[in-house]
Amino acid sequence: DTAVSQTPKYLVTQMGNDKSIKCEQNLGHDTMYWYKQDSKKFLKIMFSYNNKELIINETVPNRFSPKSPDKAHLNLHINSLELGDSAVYFCASSPTTRVSGYTFGSGTRLTVV
């Protein structure tokens, strides 16, 4: 009955590889997000989708491409991984009516070696 679930939880990969992180929410929310948390715990938004349409793209390199096949899913694909991409990536979702409904997944720790 997990509200926002993302897979995998841990991902270790070599530089130059392409990888994907998947996210699904069962809350019926209209909007989904990807946030990045760096080694200093700073959290910053990357993308936001509302009803499968991109509404926020925060100066993220083109190597990062979100895809939303439907309202309940928002996946993140990363091409040509770099060492600096190592971070924890959080998926989140929110209703359009309540800020208190903003819900985060448990994160995917990506390590690029």
Binding site: K41, S48, V99, S106
Partner: protein, 112 residues
């Protein structure tokens, strides 16, 4: 786990004491201000929010104070418990794109 040299602001309190965590924000146009709690290995968890036209809001054991004059937000936790140990973030929310802008976190450690 935690990274070496994290350099987060830290607050260490004794169990049963009250805790106050502070935050400075930048955007006067934000509609809401929110506090999140993040435990190790988990995502941020909503604690309490306050609308920009209010200056105080209380929840269960928590109170948020908003001072718009100096752009300052605080979270007060009453009778702090070991389970309150976590990193606490303030965040601003506003506009039609539902974006959260997070502040720097504060690591709260509760000593039994």
């Amino acid at each position: 786990g935690e990274s070496v040299g994290l350099h987060l602001p830290t607050l260490s309190v004794q169990e049963g004491d009250n805790s106050i965590i502070n935050c400075a924000y930048s955007n006067s146009a934000s509609d809401y201000f929110i506090w999140y709690k993040q435990e190790s290995g988990k995502g941020p968890q909503f604690i309490i929010d306050i609308r920009s036209n209010m200056d105080k809001r209380q929840g269960q054991r928590v109170t948020v104070l908003l001072n718009k004059t100096v752009k300052h937000l605080s979270l007060q936790i009453a009778a702090t418990q070991p389970g309150d140990s976590a990193v606490y973030f303030c965040a601003e929310f506003g506009g039609s794109n539902y974006k959260l802008t997070f502040g720097k976190g504060t690591l709260l450690t509760v000593n039994p």
